[in-house]
């Protein structure tokens, strides 16, 4: 029997890459995990059980061939591991950093389920592609053959970029339009640097640029350029705008100064701390938590990003209010733990009832309990009467989720059908919308969701676009 390089979970324990100490890391915006050493990566990859039915793959939106690249990593075949990983994922190193693995691949890892501790899939994934960048294996796109078909993509977030990548590799002419000054969407301005350092995103954008993808930045569709003119310029258009409208609170006093939207807060912080930009609202203190008592409302990943950003900006205290309990929060458990280590205090089963002062000085909190589960099994929170109190605050950040903007109205495109939630109506597999040659992907179709889903949508949609354009070409040729 040749040496069995895998199945080492039996006697090797799970180890994450070293995490910087909370007291150190909370003073900067750099990533908190170190890279695996080569030996450690191989050792941790070797814990994989090489399942006959890889649940990790089944629960990965991209169906990454995880057991295969783990095996290649365990045996030191990193170039091949990279090729394989890259073949199903446009940005493996980004997913490796920010995917909630504990809910996807790692959360379904067979050896985790049986109590051995999951394979550290995300960290290995990140390690593989970071190594590939380091070794120069990641090359700009060089299509075998140029084609004259062109595609316009509105939105330079992960979905748009993933689609751009696939289309460009096939030789199509691709233009990406985005309202921000930098490409990357939430990858650039939504996610804080301590989770995803910005050069990781920028080198991908650069790779696409070098590969011939054209970027039109600072472009508000509907203002700077009409949607119809974009349609007119391209053989197909993909809408990948994401969802940016913040869910709001209607509680008394919600309009007070000092109550801000998470997206504004995070964007400002990212610009300032990662790119060194000057942002007016930050300078003015409006979006800066320094020396403030901060309350963040919400229990999702955005809320986690806000509380940890506030810590790094030097807040005097940071509290997070969430109306359900820890077990029922939508955000990643791992991030919650990181936040607690850094000094965030979570107030579970707590909901805002109103706000005191203008500028705000406190949040009126009511305590909740979990009621009977509904049809989906989720327990609805109920108010506990008479347990209200006031939480002092001089910066309140609303991280209650995002909703779609009203695109038909913004863009003046009546023909674009939307759902009753305002998302664009599109086929989930192909992204086809009610308009011919117009596709939509990512959050604007799904509602706020994960980066990895946006990538999946982008890739699937690009395949559909290629197929559709090829068939129209074939028809034309006859």
């Amino acid at each position: 029997m040749a040496k069995q390089p895998m199945l080492k979970f039996v006697n090797i324990d799970r180890h994450m890459p070293n995490k910087r100490d909370a007291n150190v890391r909370k003073h900067d915006f750099n990533e908190i995990y170190a890279e695996f050493t080569d030996e450690k990566a191989a050792e941790q990859a070797s814990r994989c059980s090489q399942c006959g039915v890889p649940y990790c793959q089944s629960h990965c939106p991209l169906h990454n061939n995880i057991p295969d690249w783990l095996r290649l990593t365990a045996t030191g075949r990193l170039k091949e591991a990279y090729d394989l990983s890259q073949a199903t994922n446009t940005f493996p190193e980004i997913c490796g950093r920010i995917c909630p693995q504990d809910r996807l691949c790692e959360g379904n890892c067979v050896i985790e389920k049986s109590g051995h501790g999951t394979v550290t899939i995300g960290s290995v994934e990140k390690y593989i592609t970071d190594t590939a960048w380091e070794k120069g294996w990641v090359k700009p796109i060089a299509p075998v053959q140029e084609q004259d078909k062109s595609v316009g993509i509105i939105g330079a977030g992960p979905g748009g970029l993933a689609a751009a990548d696939v289309l460009r590799r096939a030789g199509l002419q691709v233009t990406v339009y985005d309202r921000y000054d930098r490409a990357g969407g939430l990858l650039t301005y939504g996610i804080p640097g301590f989770k995803l350092e910005k050069d990781v995103v920028m080198r991908r954008v650069e790779q696409l640029e070098k590969g011939g993808v054209e970027f039109v930045m600072n472009c508000y569709v509907g203002e700077d350029l009409s949607f119809d003119s974009i349609r007119g310029k391209h053989d197909a258009v993909i809408i990948a705008t994401g969802v940016y409208k913040t869910r709001d609170l209607a509680d008394p006093g919600a309009g007070a100064e000092g109550i801000v939207r998470a997206i504004d807060y995070l964007t400002a912080s990212n610009k300032v701390s990662n790119f060194g930009d000057t942002v007016e609202e930050f300078e003015s203190g409006e979006l800066n938590a320094m020396d403030k008592k901060v309350v963040v409302i919400g229990g999702g990943d955005t809320a986690m990003d806000c509380v940890r950003t506030a810590i790094r900006q030097g807040a005097t205290s940071v509290k997070c209010l969430y109306r359900r309990d820890r077990a029922n929060m939508p955000g990643s458990q791992r991030e919650t733990q990181n936040a607690e280590e850094e000094g965030v205090v979570f107030e579970w089963l707590s909901a805002p009832k109103g706000f005191a002062g203008d500028p705000v000085i406190g949040v009126m909190v009511q305590k909740m309990r979990l009621g009977a589960p509904d049809a989906t099994g989720r327990q609805a929170p109920e108010i506990i009467g008479g347990a209200d109190y006031v939480e002092d605050a001089d910066l309140v950040i609303k991280a209650l989720g995002f909703e779609p903007e009203d695109l038909p109205k913004l863009w003046g495109t009546d023909g674009l059908e939307v759902t009753r939630w305002g998302t664009v109506k599109a086929d989930f597999e192909t992204g086809r919308t009610s308009l011919e040659n117009v596709y939509a992907i990512g959050d604007i179709v799904r509602g706020a969701s994960l980066v990895v889903w946006a990538i999946r949508d982008g890739r699937d949609c690009a395949d559909a676009v290629l197929k559709d354009l090829a068939s129209t070409a074939a028809v034309a040729a006859e």
Partner: protein, 1511 residues
């Protein structure tokens, strides 16, 4: 007269024909095994005594035959004797003629049509015409007197008119010429009859020397039916007799044996290859021996012949062409010679080497009794798989046969008692009055001709090829394109190819195959995936190609095969390679040795051509091949390497078979070799299919290039030459395994034989390009294949695809569909955890929404009528009882999982199966909470682990696992790391020591052996039902018919997709058929033969929903096995790493810490079975059925709803859906009593031993016995176990049974402590089978003059699976002595080949010589060999052994005690001599100990070793 008559026969024939055309039955699958023997007077003097002995012997082998449902129709029996001239002279005189005493007389024994008098007359005319045409005189016809009362109804209904034609040698030619011309006359008659459309004319014999009386009576009735045989004038110098046991139940008189030259017990596994090659050989053979008459004798093998009849035909031609019977046997069934333990004499080797170069061996189990008129011989096949015992009597007779003691002899004057070994022969030259033993006859044969000179022309290439440095053909981009175009995947390269090269072995995998049949898949599947490997079960044994490698050979002949009948050196101008595998550079080297032209044939077709391009190009390559051979080319190279953007590669299997079959049809195949270079070929299965399609050698160039690429990338150490050598080793082992699983040991007989069944290849295409291969489910044809290969070609050459990741073996999203995937498993587990039928329904819906995986997925259930209220349908409890969890051993499963299944199934009144490996006796008492943890079904598998008298008595059902779905025809191995304390205790072995299960049951080499085992089991447990587990294969129906006749009560047909704890990956994928096919075949054939009612049919293999159950019921199954789903319910998540002992969920592991992770419980399993039942109930209600019984066998309620993918010509499932006439009347009663077997001597013993059994009084009983007293002592042991327990306090001889005579098979099987059996005489096979603590003593009668150590006293396969007790035998044992012994202590005085094979415990002392391959696979126990001449070392298989002198006191004492006891029990002379000089004799002993045991034995083996710690 009978109520049937010929209308019955005609209707029966019509029914069979219709079934063969429309159903799953195939006449070609019918098999026969039997008992056989001969009596010959050495001096050649005819006497009445010989005939009487022959008749007596027939009466003593009835138990080796089978009886039909009517209780009287046998499967055939007969006797071959010399023509008693005076007897026939008297007959001639009675007709008024005067016999011409100066002329030789010939007699023909003829079967004529009985009721059609017109046809009868035509036959007589044909016979007379041909006799007269050759110039001989006819005395007249004689109506042979017969007594029809002794016939069964069916036999009588098909009885022919039996007449004799008496002929005079009017031409006055010599005897040889007369015989040869009589042969030609017979062949002419046969042809003329066929031309006249008469099928019922059959000539049993037409000879001036001998005559054959045979028919469809029971063996003991032969002389009753033919009163001639009892006539005092009826004298002969020899008698060859035969009793047939057939899987066929339609009485065909002509298939009774003996045939004209031989009687055969066994089966020719290579029959397809042999028959094919004969088509080519016969052209040159016939013309040289028969000149102008050549056309009259062709074809040598008539269509419709059984394997034995075919062998007889070829044997006869060889004899008629001047070969003696011993030489003909040597050519056709040579012993294995190239790898013998002790080198054979050079003259022998030369002779065999010559034979090997002219003829492919006829391989398979064979005990033969044969004669050419002058010589009478007995012989065995190379593996010695059938018994052949013989005695030489004081009055000059040689009596040989399947059993000892068939003819009573005078023990006081007997000269010799022996048993033939593998490949051995015993020959009597009646003319010279000489008896030749094996060595003598082979010396005589090998010195008769200058074989040594002839074989000097053979060019052995091994040496030259070993020096070649390997080079790749393609690399980089070109390699990648070709890999993609050949359908390679990363999985294939990483998981299949790489392990073969790293380990020189095939990869192991686990769990079952849950991917679609190739024909149902929408992915590209290589053509090899449509081929399912054939394998042996029941009627012949598979071989262990690892432990018994010496009989296996891949020697490949190369070159123009000359006339078989020439005796000269011209035949040997050939090249010989050691394997059909050839590397890239080796091929270049091979070419330089060619002594004839080579022509290359480009096996590609243009890309983008029309739909017919592949077909046209197949015609092109056929024409090119024919032209090449006709213009003198001796070698063809078929290659697909010219593929590229503009050229598409043909599947090389198709190309090879197209050319091979074409050349065979044209009689040109033996004029050339065929080398195949194939890109697609990568695993052993593909190699096997290519060789089976006719390739002489195969170069897998792209696989080799892929290895070179790995080396370039630093993934493989060493040079390409070394890598290819290891790859070749793995392929060679794989090929051997594939051949061995169907019992074939020589590749030349496997080549071109297409020993496969196609699933989903179009029948038309098979008929054209794969003639002779079964394809019962038609599907993809040439144009469909063209489309598929064009697609994969385009991916490789017309786009920039990377290698796909794969997903065939393990699920990958982008790869092949797997039935078990994350969501379906999750739903199943949630349903069982939460007892939610709602979730089960989601699961069931999910399963149904998958793309088609199984044949049944193309079927739909039709309603019987209006739906009925569900309350009216039989209850869940009632339905649940039909479920079984199939045999999963404790060893594969963790003890927790194993017990959970037992408890769960017992709670609901269903059954679990213990699997192989015993069961904890603690399970035999209920748990404190009332749960019963004991499996209701106990398995008896080939390893016989833990199979004790106690185990066999604690169950309701015993299952004989003949084959396992995941790896039919293969054995298993439980690696040492899985052998925990518990497992070691249950299996009577040692912790940490590897345990091997052999591929065959060593007591089932044929159907009558199975009948014997069933008999044994029904003796040890008087109420148990016996199940025989078979794997679906073509022919499983006829095997099932034989199994029913063997008195089985339940037959389990397993699908190929059953699970496994560890099997070679390609075995899981490519052997066996879906249960749908096997079950329907079994159901149809049993129904057709009126045997269906006698058994319960059960099926398993991928039954996943209630719908599957209902469909299985409609296809004929009454009970259903749920394996994988039950494991999943207990937490299995198809990690498919069972073989690694790292099951993360504790289901399939022995690791303590992992077992702690087990979360299963009985409730979950109960829920699972309940859901199945509930769903079944709902379906039954919806179709208007009130019970499962109503739909069993109702295949008419199924209809095909999909014809599969668009590219298929036709996917025709109708053969599954036919109903046999009369099937509607079958009564399916699962509660019927078991099939009764006759009592044996134990009925008397138990009566006589009443005081012992009731009161425990010590007793001694005494009986005279003969070989028909089988399984003596076993029923008595059953009583002992029940009355006193197996760990009782009885004295070892509390009940002593003394027997005098030759006792039958299975003496003392499963004997329990307290029973002692003493035989004065001898015993047959299986002495002490499963011995469980009893004592067996066998010694010669007091009067016997024989030297015990030189004579055989007990037969083959002694102490198989014994766990405890003693055996002392003063004489030699046959083959496979103490095989898989795990606890008994034994002393004997010599043994045949494969002694102590797979032994895991106990002590064997052998005071005489041993046969070759001693101790193969022995991993436990201890053996001592008395070896004063130092010969033993050569005979041992040292792979697992260490040996040395006996030096340590502990062992000395063990040895001495046993020999003393032997002396005491048997009075052995040998033991006396040894004990007298013990101090000096001790040095003559060799101690044999398994290596793995060294660290476990209580005392060191040597004094030096004692000094070092035992680690």
């Amino acid at each position: 007269m009978t109520k049937f008559d010929e209308n019955w026969a005609a209707a029966e024939v019509a029914k069979r024909k219709w079934m063969a055309e429309n159903g799953m039955y195939s006449e070609e699958d019918e098999k026969a095994n039997c008992g056989v023997g001969l009596v010959v007077s050495i001096d050649g003097k005819p006497s009445r005594k010989v005939v009487e002995n022959g008749i007596a012997a027939l009466k003593a082998i009835w138990h080796r035959g089978a009886v039909d449902a009517d209780g009287k129709t046998g499967d055939g029996a007969g006797i071959h004797v010399q023509i008693p001239v005076p007897f026939f002279y008297d007959q001639i005189k009675r007709t008024g003629h005067e016999p011409r005493q100066d002329q030789l007389m010939a007699v023909g024994q003829v079967f004529l049509p009985r009721t059609n008098f017109g046809a009868q007359e035509t036959c007589r005319t044909i016979v007379e015409t041909e006799v007269l045409r050759m110039g001989y005189y006819i005395y007249g016809w004689r109506h042979v007197p017969v007594e029809t009362e002794c016939l069964g109804e069916k036999a009588n209904a098909t009885r022919p008119e039996i007449e004799q034609i008496i002929i005079a040698n009017a031409k006055g030619v010599d005897e040889e010429t007369f015989e040869r011309e009589l042969y030609v006359i017979r062949r002419r008659i046969e042809k003329a009859a066929a031309a006249a459309g008469i099928v019922d004319l059959y000539i049993c014999s037409l000879s001036c020397r001998s005559i054959i009386y045979k028919g469809m009576m029971l063996a003991e009735q032969v002389a009753e039916f033919y009163p001639d045989l009892k006539d005092e004038r009826f004298e002969s110098a020899f008698a060859i007799y035969h009793q047939r046991y057939s899987t066929n139940t339609f009485p065909q008189w002509w298939l009774a044996q003996p045939f004209r030259m031989l009687a055969h017990n066994g089966e020719i596994n290579t029959i397809k290859g042999n028959t094919n090659w004969m088509k080519s050989h016969e052209i040159r053979m016939a013309s040289s021996a028969f000149g102008d008459l050549a056309e009259d004798i062709k074809p040598i093998i008539q269509s419709g012949s059984s394997d034995s009849a075919a062998l007889d035909s070829v044997f006869e031609v060889l004899v008629r062409a001047g070969r003696s019977a011993p030489m003909a046997k040597t050519m056709l069934i040579p012993e294995s010679w190239s790898k013998q333990a002790a080198e054979l004499p050079e003259a022998w080797r030369d002779m065999y080497s010559y034979c090997n170069s002219v003829m492919e061996p006829w391989d398979g189990p064979a005990a033969l009794a044969m004669t050419d008129g002058r010589w009478v011989c007995a012989g065995l096949d190379r593996n010695g798989l059938r018994p052949m015992r013989y005695v030489v009597t004081g009055d000059g007779l040689v009596i040989a046969g399947s059993e000892a003691g068939m003819v009573p002899i005078n023990e006081a004057t007997v000269k010799e008692k022996g048993a033939l070994g593998p490949g051995q022969m015993l020959a009597v030259d009646m003319k010279k009055g000489l008896l030749f033993h094996d060595t003598e006859i082979k010396d005589k044969l090998s010195n008769a001709l200058p074989f040594g000179e002839w074989v000097g022309h053979i060019n052995e290439l091994a040496e030259a090829l070993s020096k070649v440095t390997e080079k790749p053909l393609y690399s980089g981009e070109e390699l990648r394109r070709r890999q993609v175009a050949a359908g390679y995947t990363i999985e294939e390269l990483e998981q299949i190819l790489a392990p073969m090269v790293e380990d020189a072995k095939e990869t192991l995998a686990s769990m079952g195959d849950d991917t679609p049949s190739a024909v149902l898949s929408n992915k590209y599947r290589p053509l090899s995936h449509f081929f399912r490997q054939n394998f042996s079960q029941v009627t012949n044994p598979p071989i262990d190609s690892l432990r018994e490698y010496r009989v296996m050979s891949l020697k490949t002949r190369f070159g123009n095969l000359k006339n078989v009948l020439d005796e000269s050196g011209s035949q040997t101008e050939i090249l010989v390679m050691d394997s059909p595998f050839v590397g890239n550079a080796q091929w270049e080297e091979v070419k330089t040795h060619f002594n004839a032209d080579m022509v290359e044939i480009d096996c590609t077709f243009p890309a983008g051509a029309d739909q017919d391009a592949l077909r046209k190009n197949l015609e092109r390559i056929r024409a090119e091949a024919e032209d090449a051979v006709r213009s003198g080319a001796g070698h063809l190279l078929l290659t697909d390497q010219h593929q590229g953007a503009a050229k598409v590669a043909m599947p090389m299997i198709l190309a090879t078979s197209a050319i091979h079959s074409h050349l065979t049809r044209k009689g040109l195949r033996t004029f050339c070799s065929i080398t195949v270079r194939s890109a697609e070929c990568i695993d052993p299965h593909y190699f096997a299919v290519l060789v089976g399609s006719g390739a002489t050698i195969v170069n897998a160039y792209l696989a080799e290039d892929s290895l070179a690429d790995r080396i370039d990338r630093g993934l493989l150490d060493g040079s390409l030459t070394e890598a290819v050598a290891r790859y070749r080793e793995a392929i060679d082992q794989g090929l051997l395994k594939i051949m061995a699983k169907m019992g074939i040991s020589v590749i030349s007989s496997y080549r071109g034989a297409l020993n496969f069944e196609a699933v989903g290849l179009s029948r038309a295409m098979c008929a054209e390009y794969f003639p002779g291969m079964t394809s019962r489910i038609s599907g993809i044809g040439v144009s469909g294949i063209q489309k598929k290969v064009e697609e994969v070609h385009a991916r490789g050459f017309l786009s920039d695809s990377v290698l796909p990741v794969g997903g065939f073996y393990k699920l990958r999203k982008s790869g092949e569909t797997h039935a078990w995937e994350a969501q379906s498993m999750h739903l199943l587990q949630s349903a069982c955890d939460r007892a939610s039928f709602e979730i089960w329904k989601q699961y069931s819906a999910k399963m149904q929404s998958m793309p088609p995986i199984h044949l049944r997925d193309l079927l739909a259930i039709k309603p019987m009528g209006n739906s009925v209220p569900i309350e009216e349908v039989e209850s869940i409890t009632s339905i649940r009882k039909r479920f079984v969890t199939p045999g999963m051993s404790l060893g594969a499963l963790s003890p927790e999982a194993h017990k959970t299944l037992n408890v769960a199934m017992n709670r609901i009144g269903a059954k679990s199966d213990s699997g192989e490996g015993g069961e904890d006796p603690a399970h035999f008492v209920p748990e404190p909470n009332g749960d019963n943890p004991s499996a209701k079904i106990k398995q008896v598998a080939s390893g016989r682990f833990g199979v004790t008298a106690e185990y066999l008595n604690h169950c309701e059902e015993l299952e004989i696992k003949v084959a396992q779905g995941a790896k039919p025809g293969e054995g298993g191995q439980l690696p040492g790391m899985k052998v925990t304390d518990l497992i070691a205790r249950l299996r009577h072995s040692t912790k940490g020591v590897t345990l091997i299960s052999p591929p065959p049951h060593h007591d089932i080499y044929s159907i009558e052996d199975l009948a014997q085992l069933i008999y044994d089991l029904k003796q040890i447990n008087p109420t148990v039902k016996v199940t025989v587990k078979l794997v679906a294969s073509s022919g499983v129906g006829t095997i099932a018919a034989g199994v029913v006749k063997a008195k089985a009560d339940i037959i389990l047909i397993s699908g190929h997709n059953g699970g496994t704890g560890a099997s070679p990956a390609t075995s899981i994928k490519f052997a066996g058929l879906p249960w749908e096919m096997g079950l329907t075949e079994a159901h149809q054939v049993l129904a057709m033969n009126n045997l269906r009612e006698r058994v319960t049919l059960r099926t398993d293999g991928g039954l996943r929903t209630g719908r599957d159950i209902v469909m299985a019921a409609m296809l004929g199954a009454e009970e259903y096995g749920i394996g994988t789903a039950a494991l999943i319910a207990m937490g299995c998540i198809m990690v498919r790493q069972c073989q690694s002992n790292t099951c993360p969920v504790g289901v399939c592991t022995q690791d303590e810490s992992l077992r702690a992770k087990f979360t299963g419980n009985a409730d979950k399993v109960v829920n699972l079975i309940t859901f199945y039942a509930q769903e079944v109930r709902e379906i039954l209600a919806s179709i208007g059925a009130r019970s499962l019984d109503e739909v069993i066998g109702r295949a008419d309620l199924l209809s095909q709803v999909s014809r599969g993918s668009a590219h298929l010509d036709d996917l025709d499932l109708n053969p599954l859906l036919i109903t046999v006439d009369g099937a509607a009347d079958i009564n399916y009663d699962r509660n019927k009593a078991r099939n009764v077997v006759p009592d044996t001597l134990d009925a008397e013993i138990v009566r006589d031993a009443a005081r012992f059994l009731q009161d425990g009084e010590k007793m001694q009983l005494s009986y005279a016995v003969q070989n028909t007293h089988r399984t003596v002592g076993t029923r008595t042991s059953s009583h002992i176990v029940k009355r006193f327990g197996m760990r009782n306090a009885l004295q070892p001889n509390h009940l002593t049974v003394k027997l005098t005579g030759s006792v039958g098979q299975s003496l003392g099987a499963f004997s329990a402590p307290g029973l002692k059996i003493e035989v004065s005489g001898d015993a047959n096979d299986y002495v002490g089978k499963g011995l469980s603590g009893g004592t067996v003593v066998v010694r010669p009668p007091m009067a016997s003059p024989l030297v015990a150590a030189d004579n055989t006293i007990i037969g083959n396969t002694v102490l198989y699976g014994a766990t405890d007790g003693f055996l002392f035998a003063a004489g030699r044992a046959g083959e496979r002595f103490a095989v898989r012994n795990s606890g008994a202590s034994v002393v004997i005085e010599g043994c045949g080949s494969n002694g102590c094979e797979y032994m895991t415990g106990g002590v064997a002392v052998i005071l005489g010589s041993i046969g070759p391959n001693f101790g193969a696979g022995m991993t436990g126990g201890m053996a001592y060999l008395y070896d004063p001449e130092g010969k033993a070392a050569d005979m041992m298989n040292m792979e697992t052994l260490v040996t040395g002198p006996v030096t340590v006191d502990y062992w000395k004492e063990q040895l001495e005690t046993l020999i003393e006891r032997h002396l005491e029990e048997t009075g052995s002379r040998k033991a006396t001599e040894i004990m007298q000089h013990w101090d000096s004799e001790l040095a003559n002993f060799v101690q044999v100990c398994p290596k793995e045991m060294l660290i476990h034995i209580p005392h060191p083996l040597t004094l030096e070793q004692g000094a070092v710690p035992a680690e």
